[in-house]
């Protein structure tokens, strides 16, 4: 019962955070609101017995990635004048909801056909570092390596793209 209440609380928070993200005009507000979503999602993972992912979500996502984003936003020192004028924003939002509704409906129809299962906490090491690590480094070794190469490439790419200095200035 408690877990259910916890779920609804976290769900409400995450949806509110997401709505805040797409409604706030200033990206800083949006980012803060998005952090709320991320943290509540971390709580969801904990409810789903994904213990390692709970930690990773908090440390890597809400911690590292979001602080990077916030850092960049602050670094650019965004003024009101830098922001694009978004006059038809409301119209776009309403139109977007109309367009997206069928997609949501469709997905929901699919989800509804799935068998229901209980979400009680699973013990004996499910979702813990040791077990996830065993799977990751045994059966998912190749994707893992590919992702690591991808990260490296992205790193170098970011340096090359952002690090250009114009000659003569």
């Amino acid at each position: 019962m408690f877990a259910e209440w916890l779920y609804f609380g976290l769900a409400a928070l995450s949806v509110l955070g997401a709505i805040g993200l797409i409604l706030f005009r200033h990206p800083m507000n949006g980012a803060m609101s998005f952090v709320v979503t991320l943290i509540s999602l971390a709580g969801m993972y904990a409810l789903l017995s994904a213990k390692l992912m709970f930690a990773v979500q908090l440390i890597v996502y809400a911690g590292a990635i979001m602080s990077l984003i916030v850092f960049i936003i602050m670094f650019l020192n965004i003024q009101e004048s830098d922001l694009p004028e978004e006059k038809g924003r409301g119209l776009y939002l309403v139109g977007g909801v109309v367009v997206i509704a069928p997609i949501a409906m469709f997905l929901y129809k699919i989800v509804r056909t799935l068998p229901g299962g209980d979400t009680a906490i699973v013990g004996n090491g499910f979702g813990e570092v040791r077990n996830v690590g065993m799977i990751l480094f045994k059966s998912w070794l190749l994707p893992f390596e590919i992702i690591s190469v991808l990260l490296l490439v992205a790193l170098i790419g970011a340096v090359v793209v952002a690090g250009k200095r114009e000659v003569g200035k």
Partner: protein, 638 residues
Amino acid sequence: MEQTAHFYLGLIPLMPLIGAVLIGLMHVTTCRGHRFPDKLYAVLACIGPVLACIMAFQVFTILKTLPVEHRILVHKVFTWFSVGELNISMGFMADPLSSLMILFVTFIGSLIHIYSIGYMADDKTYAKFFGYMNLFLGSMLILVLGDGPVVMFVGWEGVGLCSYLLISYYNEDSSNVLAGNKAFIVNRIGDLGFVLGMAFLFWAIGAQGFDYISLKANAHLLPQATAMLVCLLLFVGATGKSAQIPLYVWLPDAMAGPTPVSALIHAATMVTAGVYMVARFSFLYVTVPDAGEIVAWIGILTALVSAIYGMFQDDIKKVLAYSTVSQLGYMFAGVGVAAYSAGIFHVFTHAFFKALLFLGAGSVIYAMHHEQNIWKMGGLKKKLPVTYLTMLVGALALSGCPPFSGFFSKDEILFSAFASGHKAIWAIGVLVAGMTAYYTFRMIFVVFHGEPHSKSSYDHAHEPPPVMTVPLVLLAIGALLAGFFNLPELFGGHQMVSSWLEPSVLDHHAHAEASTEWMVMGSSVLAFVIGFSIAYVKFAKGAQLPVFTGFAKFAYNKFYIDELYDMLFVQPYKSIGAIIWKDFDPNVTDGPRKAISWLYGAIGDAFRLVQTGYVRVYAIYMVIGLSLISLLISQTLN
């Protein structure tokens, strides 16, 4: 033995063609920079024809050893194409007819090549000339040796192309190019007839095989009307290639080319193709005598008309050109009255004396520094003795003086015409024989006798080098003796050529009393004597440039046939073209095209509005599409 012959059969047309390709490549790769010496080209150009000539002789002798009914060798080199019932192989066939043809084609072709070495000596594009000449000879050999109408057509078109290239060889002068165009276009008209004839023939009896042997075997299956149609259409092709009424107009203009080319066109290649073709299809023509009748009449009328033109020309080459047209008329008269071997025999003798006359005329022109008007020559007998004597032999042969070769062949045609009951054709033929003697000796007397009309060029005239005179002498011997190959029984001969050709052509043997034969022969000789005498009286002592009036003027202008054709065909065609160009094309034909292009433009403009360039908008399109798909699939879920 036969294996060797097969081997040679494939090689004979290949020899000049290899030469053509080799010379062409050498010329193309070197014409901008350092050139090979002319002598190298000369040797290369002559090797092919000479080797082909030797091989042709081999094939002939091998064929001769075989029994009469087996004198047919077919060498299929490869399957060319095979579509439905139509299986065409690139095959070559040697039978008495084609072996005789290749024999003199290669022999005379070789002599003309050798002669050209001297004649074209100071030409700038020596190599190009010899390349074309080799190609010309190769095409003619394909035409003659082809084992079916389709292979023949390859050669047929090849000679048409080469004649165009060579007639407009001196292409700095636009009138030469126009002459080349004329030859090509007129030939195309004839070719259309040939193609149509071929198509009808295939449609009717081609299914069992489309080479001469199967066609000959199936000829009896052909309905009379179709046979008539095929014969006439093929004959249209022949009139184009062999310069008969109404398509003879290109041949006199073809004199624009270098003189050896004229010799090649008139003697060994090209114009004889039509006669050869009719003889080759003799198995068709014998089934429809009416077609033969038409062929004979067109032939003899061509002979008459061109003989009239020939009497009034003042260009030495044009006189010879009209004499060729006239002699071709005789040949068609011969094949038309079903005397195929007589026609082919005349082709054979004509090749010698006409090549001789043209090459002689070439020597005269060469000596006179490219002067062709006979009224500016005169008295050249002393300056050019070899040319004079050899040309005299040629002239005697052409005008049918016994015992020169032309006499026998022409007489045989006239005799066949008379004996087969075509007395009118015979009468016209005798008349033309007299006219031939007249204009030939008019030319000889004006050029070689009397006083020189142009002192300066007379003084500079000199006998050409031996490379030119030796072929003349060889041809003169041929022109003198070629007639004896087919000596009629009247003189104790055995008609060797006719009996040789027996298996190939379906000859109609006309028999007559010896007295009739004597009478026919006598009248020919009489016609010659009369023509010669008139020419002697009028021109032997020197003659001045005549002024043409009345009929003579009319004939001098070739009955205004060129102008008539221009008015009847060329101008209306041009005006139709102009209408299509200026009115029909921009308004009617281009209408739908413009509409379609406008439509595409409009659609493009419409789609351009969609392409805003904003990434977000493309994302919106994607989401809209996704949404629609979701809606659609949702219907199927409950």
